[in-house]
Amino acid sequence: MFTKAKIFISSVAQDSLKQLRESMWDILRDLGHEPMLFERNFGAWDSHTNPVQKCIECVRESDALLLFISNKAGTFYERSQRTVTHMELIEACAKRKTVLVFVDRMVKAEYFAKAKWIIEEYVESYKAETSSFPKASDIVAVLSRADLSPNVDPYVWFFLHDIVGRGIYFEDLNLAVAPDWKMYFSDLLRRGLQLMPFKDAIETNERQLDQYDHFYDILTSAIPSLDITGFRNLKALLKSFQRSVTGDVVEHDYGYVKEPVGSFGDCSAVTLYELQEDRLVVRGKTGTAIGEDYYLLDNKDSFIALTYSNPEPNDQVFFKESNCTFYYCLRLPKHVMTFHLPCGPDWNTDKFMASKDSVIRVIIDKNALAFDFVRMLIGAMQHGD
């Protein structure tokens, strides 16, 4: 008993795409798949069925969404602020369907050359003014006034921008030269076949992940119940933290592509300073750390003192170009712990200022467990130490 792959063919019902939609139906049927096409096999419904809901349900039942985009947007629903085609894509993404997108190559080129930047500039200025995102209709209104091809509905640019933001790759659609669809679907089959032998391995990994996740719950509930009275071997503890914090590549995420802007290395030093009256006194350090024995709390040249005197609860990242190092600093109730992450001489103050959010995000995403574990452990010392 075989189950056919159900493939939903999605596009605006415009004349220039009519032939493509119908030929796709035939090709997919010939290949043995089960295509879903509005005008062929699911367009007829009873009068009580909402047509948009019907399309969404068909997407939900499908294995893949095949989306064609040309210059028309289709009907815009004011209440949902989206078109039907767009809502089909949203449902496919929400249900993690395989999404295959083809965009008219002229439209695609103009999006990346002009429309993308107009949207980004408007969204950024709107966010800066209102601390919220603009509605789709606001963005479309801006696009309709912009110097863009008049034969392309402005909503199409907004739709493409959303697809790019979701990290979905889209291929060129040249209506004059049809792609080799049989080869295209054979390639999809090949990609799926690569994974099939790993069913047991994936399931084993999933079970182990659940066990580690459960272990994390045990740790986070048990440690705050402890009253840790001190260090048996502080140097060894700091070294183990140093080994656990690692470097990575810093990338700017543009949705469609990620651009590496630099990197930083594995943690080269860890320090622990403790609050004693008006100063922070070193309790231990490892690696290449060469800090002073203490810093007065009002010392504004010290990242140790600045971290402790910061009234905000969030951690901070410091950077000194002359040291080629990022310093991730944890403010704890009676301590400051710092992690030194070396970076190359390509990092200067301008680059740090332009990329700080990406730098901080990468450092935390990569090392969140280590930082949180430090916070739990040292936090458990606050009464007994």
Partner: protein, 62 residues
């Protein structure tokens, strides 16, 4: 929203604007704490695992 960058130079902390000297100490707060990131990573992992289990079951159902 982008966070601000601050600069500490000769004992004075100000918001960093424009190119800064090499020996300036720049710093910026993180938007999220490590604990928040872990909560998000774990929730995301659970969602992914659920999808993977459902898809494996669907893919190998006969």
């Amino acid at each position: 929203m982008a966070t601000k960058v601050y600069v500490s130079l000769n004992g004075v902390v100000t918001e960093a604007v424009g190119t800064q000297p090499k020996d300036a100490l720049l710093f910026a707060p993180s938007k999220k704490s490590a604990a928040q990131v872990i909560v998000e990573q774990r929730a995301n992992r659970r969602r992914n695992s659920q999808f993977i289990r459902e898809r494996l079951e669907e893919a190998f159902k006969r």
